[in-house]
Protein backbone atom coordinates (compact mmCIF):
# COMPACT_ATOMS: atom_id res chain seq x y z
CA UNK A 1 0.00 0.00 0.00
CA UNK A 2 2.83 2.34 0.87
CA UNK A 3 4.60 1.90 -2.45
CA UNK A 4 1.28 2.49 -4.27
CA UNK A 5 1.01 5.94 -2.71
CA UNK A 6 4.59 6.69 -3.63
CA UNK A 7 4.00 5.88 -7.28
CA UNK A 8 0.96 8.15 -7.34
CA UNK A 9 2.95 10.99 -5.81
CA UNK A 10 5.74 10.60 -8.34
CA UNK A 11 3.17 10.49 -11.13
CA UNK A 12 1.51 13.68 -9.96
CA UNK A 13 4.83 15.52 -9.76
CA UNK A 14 5.75 14.42 -13.29
CA UNK A 15 2.26 15.45 -14.47
CA UNK A 16 2.85 18.96 -13.13
CA UNK A 17 6.19 19.15 -14.94
CA UNK A 18 4.61 17.94 -18.14
CA UNK A 19 1.74 20.44 -17.79
CA UNK A 20 4.34 23.22 -17.60
CA UNK A 21 6.01 21.87 -20.74
CA UNK A 22 2.65 21.76 -22.54
CA UNK A 23 1.99 25.38 -21.59
CA UNK A 24 5.42 26.51 -22.79
CA UNK A 25 5.07 24.38 -25.91
CA UNK A 26 1.77 25.84 -27.00
CA UNK A 27 2.99 29.36 -26.25
CA UNK A 28 6.04 28.81 -28.45
CA UNK A 29 3.90 27.21 -31.14
CA UNK A 30 2.18 30.58 -31.53
CA UNK A 31 5.33 32.41 -32.68
CA UNK A 32 7.17 31.84 -35.94
CA UNK A 33 10.68 31.86 -34.49
CA UNK A 34 9.97 29.31 -31.77
CA UNK A 35 7.25 27.14 -33.30
CA UNK A 36 9.46 24.12 -34.08
CA UNK A 37 10.89 24.11 -30.56
CA UNK A 38 7.40 24.49 -29.13
CA UNK A 39 6.29 21.34 -30.89
CA UNK A 40 9.28 19.44 -29.44
CA UNK A 41 8.45 20.73 -25.95
CA UNK A 42 4.92 19.52 -26.24
CA UNK A 43 6.03 16.14 -27.61
CA UNK A 44 8.44 15.81 -24.68
CA UNK A 45 5.62 16.66 -22.28
CA UNK A 46 3.49 13.97 -23.88
CA UNK A 47 6.28 11.41 -23.65
CA UNK A 48 6.90 12.15 -19.96
CA UNK A 49 3.21 11.96 -19.08
CA UNK A 50 2.67 8.71 -20.98
CA UNK A 51 5.84 7.07 -19.65
CA UNK A 52 5.07 7.84 -16.01
CA UNK A 53 1.49 6.65 -16.41
CA UNK A 54 2.80 3.24 -17.46
CA UNK A 55 4.20 2.81 -13.93
CA UNK A 56 0.72 2.41 -12.55
CA UNK A 57 -0.81 0.24 -15.28
CA UNK A 58 -3.80 -1.84 -14.31
CA UNK A 59 -4.48 -3.22 -17.76
CA UNK A 60 -2.65 -6.05 -19.47
CA UNK A 61 0.72 -4.95 -20.82
CA UNK A 62 -0.03 -6.77 -24.09
CA UNK A 63 -3.01 -4.48 -24.67
CA UNK A 64 -0.86 -1.41 -24.01
CA UNK A 65 2.09 -2.37 -26.19
CA UNK A 66 -0.15 -3.68 -28.95
CA UNK A 67 -2.23 -0.49 -29.00
CA UNK A 68 0.68 1.94 -28.82
CA UNK A 69 2.85 0.19 -31.39
CA UNK A 70 0.02 -0.26 -33.86
CA UNK A 71 -1.15 3.33 -33.31
CA UNK A 72 2.38 4.67 -33.74
CA UNK A 73 2.81 2.78 -37.00
CA UNK A 74 -0.53 3.90 -38.45
CA UNK A 75 -0.17 7.51 -37.28
CA UNK A 76 3.41 7.86 -38.51
CA UNK A 77 2.57 6.26 -41.82
CA UNK A 78 -0.28 8.70 -42.47
CA UNK A 79 1.78 11.70 -41.29
CA UNK A 80 4.74 10.90 -43.53
CA UNK A 81 2.72 9.96 -46.60
CA UNK A 82 0.10 12.70 -46.58
CA UNK A 83 0.28 15.32 -49.32
CA UNK A 84 0.27 18.92 -48.12
CA UNK A 85 -2.92 19.58 -50.07
CA UNK A 86 -4.61 16.84 -48.02
CA UNK A 87 -3.66 18.33 -44.64
CA UNK A 88 -7.17 19.64 -43.83
CA UNK A 89 -8.83 16.22 -44.02
CA UNK A 90 -5.93 14.59 -42.20
CA UNK A 91 -6.18 17.03 -39.29
CA UNK A 92 -9.91 16.31 -39.19
CA UNK A 93 -9.26 12.57 -39.11
CA UNK A 94 -6.66 12.68 -36.29
CA UNK A 95 -8.91 15.01 -34.38
CA UNK A 96 -11.73 12.51 -34.65
CA UNK A 97 -9.47 9.74 -33.35
CA UNK A 98 -8.59 11.80 -30.26
CA UNK A 99 -12.29 12.37 -29.64
CA UNK A 100 -13.00 8.67 -30.13
CA UNK A 101 -10.40 7.77 -27.49
CA UNK A 102 -12.13 9.96 -24.88
CA UNK A 103 -15.49 8.51 -25.93
CA UNK A 104 -14.15 5.00 -25.27
CA UNK A 105 -12.56 6.01 -21.96
CA UNK A 106 -15.86 7.34 -20.64
CA UNK A 107 -17.71 4.31 -22.00
CA UNK A 108 -15.35 2.01 -20.11
CA UNK A 109 -15.72 4.06 -16.92
CA UNK A 110 -19.49 3.59 -17.13
CA UNK A 111 -18.97 -0.06 -16.15
CA UNK A 112 -17.22 0.87 -12.94
CA UNK A 113 -19.69 -0.25 -10.32
CA UNK A 114 -19.50 2.48 -7.72
CA UNK A 115 -20.07 5.59 -9.85
CA UNK A 116 -21.43 8.57 -7.95
CA UNK A 117 -24.01 10.92 -9.46
CA UNK A 118 -21.32 13.44 -10.31
CA UNK A 119 -19.17 10.79 -11.97
CA UNK A 120 -22.17 9.67 -13.97
CA UNK A 121 -22.68 13.24 -15.17
CA UNK A 122 -19.02 13.51 -16.20
CA UNK A 123 -19.19 10.16 -17.99
CA UNK A 124 -22.21 11.21 -20.02
CA UNK A 125 -20.74 14.63 -20.87
CA UNK A 126 -17.43 13.09 -21.94
CA UNK A 127 -19.19 10.49 -24.06
CA UNK A 128 -21.28 13.20 -25.66
CA UNK A 129 -18.48 15.64 -26.47
CA UNK A 130 -16.04 12.92 -27.48
CA UNK A 131 -18.65 11.15 -29.61
CA UNK A 132 -19.75 14.32 -31.40
CA UNK A 133 -16.09 15.15 -32.03
CA UNK A 134 -15.48 11.69 -33.45
CA UNK A 135 -18.37 11.30 -35.84
CA UNK A 136 -18.42 15.02 -36.68
CA UNK A 137 -14.73 14.90 -37.59
CA UNK A 138 -15.26 11.86 -39.78
CA UNK A 139 -17.95 13.74 -41.70
CA UNK A 140 -15.63 16.75 -41.96
CA UNK A 141 -12.99 14.36 -43.27
CA UNK A 142 -15.42 13.03 -45.87
CA UNK A 143 -16.39 16.51 -46.98
CA UNK A 144 -12.83 17.82 -47.14
CA UNK A 145 -11.55 14.87 -49.12
CA UNK A 146 -14.62 15.24 -51.33
CA UNK A 147 -15.61 11.63 -50.80
CA UNK A 148 -18.87 12.78 -49.28
CA UNK A 149 -21.05 14.86 -51.53
CA UNK A 150 -24.18 14.98 -49.42
CA UNK A 151 -24.97 18.40 -48.02
CA UNK A 152 -27.64 20.74 -46.85
CA UNK A 153 -31.14 20.21 -48.21
CA UNK A 154 -31.10 16.48 -48.80
CA UNK A 155 -33.72 14.52 -46.86
CA UNK A 156 -31.06 12.25 -45.37
CA UNK A 157 -29.29 15.31 -44.01
CA UNK A 158 -32.53 16.60 -42.53
CA UNK A 159 -33.15 13.33 -40.70
CA UNK A 160 -29.60 13.38 -39.35
CA UNK A 161 -30.02 16.97 -38.18
CA UNK A 162 -33.14 16.00 -36.27
CA UNK A 163 -31.10 13.32 -34.50
CA UNK A 164 -28.68 16.07 -33.46
CA UNK A 165 -31.49 18.05 -31.88
CA UNK A 166 -32.91 14.90 -30.32
CA UNK A 167 -29.54 14.16 -28.71
CA UNK A 168 -29.66 17.19 -26.43
CA UNK A 169 -32.70 16.20 -24.36
CA UNK A 170 -31.27 12.68 -24.39
CA UNK A 171 -28.09 14.01 -22.80
CA UNK A 172 -30.07 15.73 -20.09
CA UNK A 173 -31.99 12.51 -19.53
CA UNK A 174 -28.91 10.31 -19.08
CA UNK A 175 -27.39 12.84 -16.72
CA UNK A 176 -30.54 12.97 -14.63
CA UNK A 177 -31.10 9.21 -14.87
CA UNK A 178 -29.46 8.13 -11.58
CA UNK A 179 -31.97 10.32 -9.76
CA UNK A 180 -34.86 9.48 -12.09
CA UNK A 181 -33.99 5.79 -12.20
CA UNK A 182 -34.79 5.36 -8.53
CA UNK A 183 -38.26 6.71 -9.08
CA UNK A 184 -39.09 5.27 -12.50
CA UNK A 185 -36.83 2.17 -12.57
CA UNK A 186 -35.73 2.62 -16.18
CA UNK A 187 -33.97 -0.40 -17.73
CA UNK A 188 -30.23 0.10 -18.35
CA UNK A 189 -30.65 -0.35 -22.11
CA UNK A 190 -30.86 3.42 -22.42
CA UNK A 191 -27.06 3.60 -22.28
CA UNK A 192 -26.49 1.76 -25.57
CA UNK A 193 -29.13 3.93 -27.20
CA UNK A 194 -27.37 7.02 -25.90
CA UNK A 195 -24.01 5.86 -27.33
CA UNK A 196 -25.53 5.35 -30.77
CA UNK A 197 -27.53 8.56 -30.63
CA UNK A 198 -24.42 10.58 -29.78
CA UNK A 199 -22.56 9.25 -32.80
CA UNK A 200 -25.47 9.91 -35.16
CA UNK A 201 -25.86 13.38 -33.65
CA UNK A 202 -22.25 14.24 -34.53
CA UNK A 203 -22.98 13.29 -38.14
CA UNK A 204 -26.08 15.47 -38.15
CA UNK A 205 -24.13 18.34 -36.61
CA UNK A 206 -21.52 18.61 -39.40
CA UNK A 207 -23.49 17.24 -42.38
CA UNK A 208 -25.34 20.45 -43.33
CA UNK A 209 -22.23 22.66 -43.12
CA UNK A 210 -20.72 23.54 -46.49
CA UNK A 211 -17.13 23.38 -47.71
CA UNK A 212 -16.42 27.11 -47.41
CA UNK A 213 -17.37 27.07 -43.73
CA UNK A 214 -15.01 24.18 -43.00
CA UNK A 215 -12.27 26.37 -41.45
CA UNK A 216 -14.70 27.22 -38.66
CA UNK A 217 -15.92 23.65 -38.22
CA UNK A 218 -12.44 22.14 -38.08
CA UNK A 219 -11.34 24.70 -35.49
CA UNK A 220 -14.43 24.03 -33.42
CA UNK A 221 -14.02 20.25 -33.55
CA UNK A 222 -10.38 20.76 -32.59
CA UNK A 223 -11.54 22.73 -29.58
CA UNK A 224 -14.13 20.09 -28.66
CA UNK A 225 -11.56 17.28 -28.71
CA UNK A 226 -9.59 19.23 -26.12
CA UNK A 227 -12.64 19.86 -23.97
CA UNK A 228 -13.50 16.16 -24.14
CA UNK A 229 -9.99 15.26 -22.95
CA UNK A 230 -10.29 17.79 -20.11
CA UNK A 231 -13.60 16.25 -19.00
CA UNK A 232 -12.03 12.80 -19.14
CA UNK A 233 -9.35 14.26 -16.86
CA UNK A 234 -11.99 15.35 -14.37
CA UNK A 235 -13.50 11.90 -14.54
CA UNK A 236 -10.18 10.15 -13.94
CA UNK A 237 -8.95 12.83 -11.51
CA UNK A 238 -5.91 13.44 -13.66
CA UNK A 239 -4.47 16.96 -13.76
CA UNK A 240 -2.35 16.68 -16.91
CA UNK A 241 -5.38 15.62 -18.93
CA UNK A 242 -7.23 18.65 -17.63
CA UNK A 243 -4.45 21.14 -18.37
CA UNK A 244 -3.53 19.78 -21.80
CA UNK A 245 -7.17 19.34 -22.79
CA UNK A 246 -8.07 22.87 -21.71
CA UNK A 247 -5.16 24.35 -23.67
CA UNK A 248 -6.36 22.60 -26.81
CA UNK A 249 -9.92 23.72 -26.08
CA UNK A 250 -8.74 27.33 -25.76
CA UNK A 251 -6.58 27.32 -28.88
CA UNK A 252 -9.36 25.79 -30.95
CA UNK A 253 -11.77 28.38 -29.61
CA UNK A 254 -9.46 31.23 -30.59
CA UNK A 255 -9.08 29.89 -34.11
CA UNK A 256 -12.85 29.44 -34.34
CA UNK A 257 -13.38 33.07 -33.39
CA UNK A 258 -10.69 34.34 -35.78
CA UNK A 259 -12.34 32.41 -38.62
CA UNK A 260 -15.85 33.61 -37.80
CA UNK A 261 -14.62 37.19 -37.58
CA UNK A 262 -12.93 36.89 -40.98
CA UNK A 263 -16.33 35.95 -42.39
CA UNK A 264 -18.13 38.63 -40.45
CA UNK A 265 -20.60 36.03 -39.20
CA UNK A 266 -21.38 34.66 -35.78
CA UNK A 267 -20.37 31.12 -34.94
CA UNK A 268 -24.03 30.23 -34.47
CA UNK A 269 -24.90 31.53 -37.92
CA UNK A 270 -22.17 29.41 -39.53
CA UNK A 271 -23.10 26.23 -37.67
CA UNK A 272 -26.86 26.35 -37.70
CA UNK A 273 -27.99 28.67 -40.49
CA UNK A 274 -25.48 28.73 -43.34
CA UNK A 275 -25.77 31.26 -46.13
CA UNK A 276 -29.39 32.01 -46.80
CA UNK A 277 -30.51 31.35 -50.33
CA UNK A 278 -31.27 35.08 -50.52
CA UNK A 279 -28.51 35.34 -53.09
CA UNK A 280 -30.93 34.41 -55.86
CA UNK A 281 -32.82 37.66 -55.38
CA UNK A 282 -29.64 39.68 -55.67
CA UNK A 283 -28.42 37.74 -58.67
CA UNK A 284 -29.42 38.49 -62.20
CA UNK A 285 -28.73 42.20 -62.05
CA UNK A 286 -25.13 41.79 -63.13
CA UNK A 287 -24.37 43.99 -66.06
CA UNK A 288 -21.42 44.45 -68.34
CA UNK A 289 -19.45 41.79 -70.03
CA UNK A 290 -16.68 39.51 -69.04
CA UNK A 291 -13.36 40.24 -70.73
CA UNK A 292 -11.27 37.12 -71.28
CA UNK A 293 -7.54 37.34 -71.76
CA UNK A 294 -4.99 34.89 -73.10
CA UNK A 295 -1.91 33.75 -71.19
CA UNK A 296 0.29 35.51 -73.76
CA UNK A 297 -1.43 38.86 -73.22
CA UNK A 298 -1.34 38.36 -69.47
CA UNK A 299 2.39 37.81 -69.73
CA UNK A 300 2.88 41.06 -71.66
CA UNK A 301 1.08 43.04 -68.97
CA UNK A 302 2.91 41.27 -66.15
CA UNK A 303 6.27 41.90 -67.80
CA UNK A 304 5.68 45.63 -67.52
CA UNK A 305 4.15 45.61 -64.06
CA UNK A 306 6.19 47.04 -61.19
CA UNK A 307 4.07 45.54 -58.43
CA UNK A 308 2.01 42.34 -58.36
CA UNK A 309 -0.28 40.96 -55.66
CA UNK A 310 -1.12 37.27 -55.82
CA UNK A 311 -4.37 36.26 -54.07
CA UNK A 312 -4.76 32.48 -53.83
CA UNK A 313 -7.89 30.57 -52.85
CA UNK A 314 -9.16 27.01 -52.65
CA UNK A 315 -8.87 26.76 -56.44
CA UNK A 316 -5.08 26.92 -56.13
CA UNK A 317 -5.17 23.93 -53.79
CA UNK A 318 -7.47 21.97 -56.11
CA UNK A 319 -5.28 22.66 -59.14
CA UNK A 320 -2.11 21.94 -57.07
CA UNK A 321 -0.79 25.17 -58.57
CA UNK A 322 1.31 26.36 -55.61
CA UNK A 323 4.67 25.35 -57.11
CA UNK A 324 4.07 26.98 -60.47
CA UNK A 325 2.74 30.06 -58.64
CA UNK A 326 6.01 30.31 -56.70
CA UNK A 327 7.95 29.91 -59.95
CA UNK A 328 5.99 32.76 -61.53
CA UNK A 329 6.57 34.88 -58.42
CA UNK A 330 10.32 34.31 -58.65
CA UNK A 331 10.44 35.12 -62.37
CA UNK A 332 8.54 38.34 -61.70
CA UNK A 333 10.99 39.28 -58.96
CA UNK A 334 13.94 38.60 -61.27
CA UNK A 335 12.23 40.93 -63.72
CA UNK A 336 12.29 43.68 -61.07
CA UNK A 337 8.64 43.42 -60.05
CA UNK A 338 7.66 43.66 -56.41
CA UNK A 339 5.65 40.52 -55.54
CA UNK A 340 3.38 40.06 -52.52
CA UNK A 341 0.86 37.38 -51.62
CA UNK A 342 -2.46 38.48 -50.14
CA UNK A 343 -3.77 35.74 -47.87
CA UNK A 344 -7.32 35.90 -46.57
CA UNK A 345 -7.76 34.03 -43.25
CA UNK A 346 -10.60 31.88 -44.58
CA UNK A 347 -9.18 31.21 -48.03
CA UNK A 348 -9.16 27.43 -48.45
CA UNK A 349 -10.66 24.77 -46.26
CA UNK A 350 -8.88 25.21 -42.93
CA UNK A 351 -7.22 28.00 -40.96
CA UNK A 352 -3.92 28.89 -42.62
CA UNK A 353 -4.48 26.54 -45.57
CA UNK A 354 -2.87 28.87 -48.15
CA UNK A 355 0.12 29.54 -45.90
CA UNK A 356 0.88 25.84 -45.68
CA UNK A 357 0.63 25.31 -49.43
CA UNK A 358 2.86 28.28 -50.24
CA UNK A 359 5.34 27.23 -47.56
CA UNK A 360 5.43 23.79 -49.16
CA UNK A 361 6.26 25.48 -52.47
CA UNK A 362 9.10 27.38 -50.75
CA UNK A 363 7.57 30.85 -50.74
CA UNK A 364 9.23 32.93 -48.01
CA UNK A 365 6.67 33.67 -45.31
CA UNK A 366 7.55 37.37 -45.08
CA UNK A 367 6.02 37.79 -48.56
CA UNK A 368 2.61 36.72 -47.23
CA UNK A 369 0.38 39.58 -46.13
CA UNK A 370 -3.05 39.75 -44.51
CA UNK A 371 -5.98 41.77 -45.92
CA UNK A 372 -5.44 44.60 -43.42
CA UNK A 373 -1.86 45.01 -44.63
CA UNK A 374 -2.52 45.04 -48.37
CA UNK A 375 -5.84 46.89 -48.61
CA UNK A 376 -4.67 50.43 -47.68
CA UNK A 377 -2.12 50.57 -50.51
CA UNK A 378 -3.88 48.28 -52.97
CA UNK A 379 -4.60 51.09 -55.49
CA UNK A 380 -0.86 51.33 -56.18
CA UNK A 381 -0.71 47.66 -57.21
CA UNK A 382 -0.34 47.24 -60.98
CA UNK A 383 -1.72 43.73 -61.26
CA UNK A 384 -3.64 41.65 -58.74
CA UNK A 385 -3.77 37.97 -59.72
CA UNK A 386 -6.68 36.07 -58.19
CA UNK A 387 -6.03 32.33 -58.32
CA UNK A 388 -9.09 30.24 -57.57
CA UNK A 389 -10.42 32.61 -54.92
CA UNK A 390 -13.93 34.00 -55.16
CA UNK A 391 -15.89 35.09 -52.09
CA UNK A 392 -12.83 36.55 -50.35
CA UNK A 393 -12.37 39.06 -53.20
CA UNK A 394 -16.05 39.75 -53.88
CA UNK A 395 -16.60 43.54 -53.90
CA UNK A 396 -20.29 42.99 -52.95
CA UNK A 397 -18.98 42.64 -49.43
CA UNK A 398 -18.12 46.33 -49.39
CA UNK A 399 -20.47 47.75 -52.03
CA UNK A 400 -23.85 46.02 -51.78
CA UNK A 401 -25.61 46.24 -48.42
CA UNK A 402 -28.18 43.66 -49.61
CA UNK A 403 -25.62 40.98 -50.36
CA UNK A 404 -25.45 37.94 -48.06
CA UNK A 405 -21.73 38.48 -47.63
CA UNK A 406 -22.00 42.23 -47.04
CA UNK A 407 -19.63 43.31 -44.27
CA UNK A 408 -17.20 40.44 -44.66
CA UNK A 409 -13.63 41.77 -44.74
CA UNK A 410 -12.20 41.06 -48.20
CA UNK A 411 -9.01 41.66 -50.14
CA UNK A 412 -10.07 44.64 -52.24
CA UNK A 413 -8.43 43.58 -55.49
CA UNK A 414 -11.00 45.54 -57.50
CA UNK A 415 -9.13 48.69 -56.43
CA UNK A 416 -5.90 47.51 -58.05
CA UNK A 417 -5.07 48.94 -61.49
CA UNK A 418 -5.62 45.62 -63.24
CA UNK A 419 -7.07 42.36 -61.95
CA UNK A 420 -6.49 38.94 -63.48
CA UNK A 421 -8.96 36.31 -62.34
CA UNK A 422 -7.93 32.71 -62.95
CA UNK A 423 -11.00 30.54 -62.98
CA UNK A 424 -12.20 27.29 -64.44
CA UNK A 425 -15.65 28.55 -65.35
CA UNK A 426 -18.13 31.30 -64.56
CA UNK A 427 -19.79 29.46 -61.65
CA UNK A 428 -20.23 31.42 -58.44
CA UNK A 429 -18.31 30.76 -55.25
CA UNK A 430 -19.26 28.63 -52.32
CA UNK A 431 -21.63 31.26 -50.98
CA UNK A 432 -23.55 31.10 -54.25
CA UNK A 433 -23.23 34.86 -54.55
CA UNK A 434 -22.59 36.52 -57.90
CA UNK A 435 -19.22 38.18 -58.03
CA UNK A 436 -19.34 41.64 -59.68
CA UNK A 437 -15.53 41.62 -59.73
CA UNK A 438 -15.67 39.54 -62.92
CA UNK A 439 -17.57 42.31 -64.69
CA UNK A 440 -15.43 45.25 -63.60
CA UNK A 441 -13.76 47.49 -66.15
CA UNK A 442 -10.26 46.61 -64.90
CA UNK A 443 -10.83 42.84 -64.67
CA UNK A 444 -9.52 40.29 -67.16
CA UNK A 445 -10.57 36.65 -66.94
CA UNK A 446 -8.00 33.94 -67.61
CA UNK A 447 -10.16 30.85 -68.01
CA UNK A 448 -8.83 27.32 -67.56
CA UNK A 449 -6.98 25.20 -65.06
CA UNK A 450 -4.89 27.49 -62.81
CA UNK A 451 -1.83 25.29 -63.03
CA UNK A 452 -1.90 25.22 -66.83
CA UNK A 453 -2.64 28.94 -67.20
CA UNK A 454 0.21 29.98 -64.92
CA UNK A 455 2.43 27.38 -66.54
CA UNK A 456 1.86 29.13 -69.87
CA UNK A 457 2.74 32.52 -68.35
CA UNK A 458 5.89 31.00 -66.86
CA UNK A 459 6.80 29.50 -70.24
CA UNK A 460 6.42 32.92 -71.87
CA UNK A 461 8.74 34.42 -69.26
CA UNK A 462 11.38 31.83 -69.99
CA UNK A 463 11.31 32.39 -73.75
Amino acid sequence: MESFIEIQTIQNIVYIGSSVLFILGIKMLGKEATAVKGNYFSALAMFAAVAITCLGLEIDLKIVIGGVVLGALIGSFIAVKVKMTAIPEMVALFNGFGGFATFLIAWSQFYKLDNSGLENTLIMLTIYIGGITFSGSLIAYGKLSEKLKLGKGSWITNILISFFYLSMPALIFVIAEPALGQILSIPPAYFSIFLALTLIAGIGFVMPIGGGDMPVVISLLNSLSGIAAAFAGLLLLNNVLIVAGSLVGASGLILTMIMAKAMNRSIGNILFVGYASASSSVAGKQEGEVKPISAQDAYLILENASSVLIVPGYGMAVAQAQHVVREMGELLEENGTEVKYGIHPVAGRMPGHMNVLLAEANVSYDLLAEPGDVNPSIDSIDVAIVIGANDVVNPSATEEPGSPIYGMPIIEVHNAKTVFVLKRSMSSGFAGVENPLFFKENTRMLFGDAKESIGQVVAEFKD
Binding site: L70, F97, A101
Partner: protein, 90 residues
Protein backbone atom coordinates in the same frame (compact mmCIF):
# COMPACT_ATOMS: atom_id res chain seq x y z
CA UNK B 1 -16.34 16.77 -3.88
CA UNK B 2 -13.51 19.09 -2.89
CA UNK B 3 -11.20 17.34 -5.35
CA UNK B 4 -13.66 18.09 -8.14
CA UNK B 5 -13.88 21.74 -7.18
CA UNK B 6 -10.11 21.98 -7.15
CA UNK B 7 -9.78 20.23 -10.51
CA UNK B 8 -12.60 22.32 -11.96
CA UNK B 9 -10.60 25.36 -10.87
CA UNK B 10 -7.52 23.98 -12.69
CA UNK B 11 -9.68 23.47 -15.78
CA UNK B 12 -10.98 27.03 -15.82
CA UNK B 13 -7.58 28.57 -15.17
CA UNK B 14 -6.02 26.48 -17.94
CA UNK B 15 -8.63 27.64 -20.43
CA UNK B 16 -7.99 31.27 -19.54
CA UNK B 17 -4.25 30.69 -19.72
CA UNK B 18 -4.64 29.08 -23.15
CA UNK B 19 -6.76 31.97 -24.42
CA UNK B 20 -4.14 34.47 -23.23
CA UNK B 21 -1.18 32.53 -24.63
CA UNK B 22 -2.49 32.13 -28.15
CA UNK B 23 -4.57 35.26 -28.55
CA UNK B 24 -2.23 36.87 -31.08
CA UNK B 25 -1.22 33.98 -33.29
CA UNK B 26 -0.04 35.06 -36.78
CA UNK B 27 -2.09 33.59 -39.62
CA UNK B 28 1.00 31.80 -41.00
CA UNK B 29 0.83 29.54 -37.97
CA UNK B 30 -2.91 28.83 -37.94
CA UNK B 31 -2.54 25.36 -39.43
CA UNK B 32 0.55 24.27 -37.44
CA UNK B 33 -1.06 25.53 -34.25
CA UNK B 34 -4.22 23.62 -34.99
CA UNK B 35 -2.36 20.47 -35.87
CA UNK B 36 0.00 20.85 -32.88
CA UNK B 37 -2.95 21.38 -30.54
CA UNK B 38 -4.57 18.37 -32.16
CA UNK B 39 -1.53 16.27 -31.23
CA UNK B 40 -1.82 17.51 -27.63
CA UNK B 41 -5.44 16.37 -27.49
CA UNK B 42 -3.95 12.90 -27.90
CA UNK B 43 -3.24 13.27 -24.17
CA UNK B 44 -6.33 11.09 -23.95
CA UNK B 45 -3.70 8.34 -24.27
CA UNK B 46 -2.79 8.95 -20.62
CA UNK B 47 -6.44 8.50 -19.71
CA UNK B 48 -6.64 5.32 -21.77
CA UNK B 49 -3.63 3.91 -19.93
CA UNK B 50 -5.40 4.50 -16.61
CA UNK B 51 -8.35 2.30 -17.52
CA UNK B 52 -8.93 -1.07 -15.92
CA UNK B 53 -9.84 -4.12 -17.91
CA UNK B 54 -12.30 -5.97 -15.71
CA UNK B 55 -14.49 -7.46 -18.41
CA UNK B 56 -13.83 -8.60 -21.95
CA UNK B 57 -15.59 -5.51 -23.30
CA UNK B 58 -13.53 -3.19 -21.11
CA UNK B 59 -10.34 -4.81 -22.39
CA UNK B 60 -11.39 -4.04 -25.94
CA UNK B 61 -12.42 -0.50 -25.04
CA UNK B 62 -9.02 0.10 -23.43
CA UNK B 63 -7.20 -1.35 -26.44
CA UNK B 64 -9.16 0.77 -28.91
CA UNK B 65 -8.76 3.93 -26.80
CA UNK B 66 -4.99 3.38 -26.65
CA UNK B 67 -4.83 2.62 -30.36
CA UNK B 68 -6.75 5.69 -31.52
CA UNK B 69 -5.09 8.06 -29.06
CA UNK B 70 -1.68 6.77 -30.21
CA UNK B 71 -2.53 7.41 -33.85
CA UNK B 72 -3.53 10.93 -32.83
CA UNK B 73 -0.33 11.52 -30.85
CA UNK B 74 2.24 10.11 -33.26
CA UNK B 75 0.54 11.32 -36.42
CA UNK B 76 -0.18 14.75 -34.95
CA UNK B 77 3.35 15.52 -33.78
CA UNK B 78 5.00 14.17 -36.92
CA UNK B 79 2.82 16.04 -39.35
CA UNK B 80 3.16 19.29 -37.35
CA UNK B 81 6.91 18.94 -37.42
CA UNK B 82 6.86 18.20 -41.11
CA UNK B 83 4.74 21.25 -41.76
CA UNK B 84 6.82 23.58 -39.60
CA UNK B 85 10.03 22.50 -41.30
CA UNK B 86 8.64 23.92 -44.54
CA UNK B 87 8.15 27.41 -43.14
CA UNK B 88 11.20 29.36 -44.19
CA UNK B 89 12.15 32.96 -44.44
CA UNK B 90 14.56 33.69 -47.25
Amino acid sequence: METYILLGFVLLLSIFLGLELIAKVPSTLHTPLMSGANAISGIALVGALMLTAGSHLQGWLAFLAILFASINVFGGYLVTNRMLSMFKKK
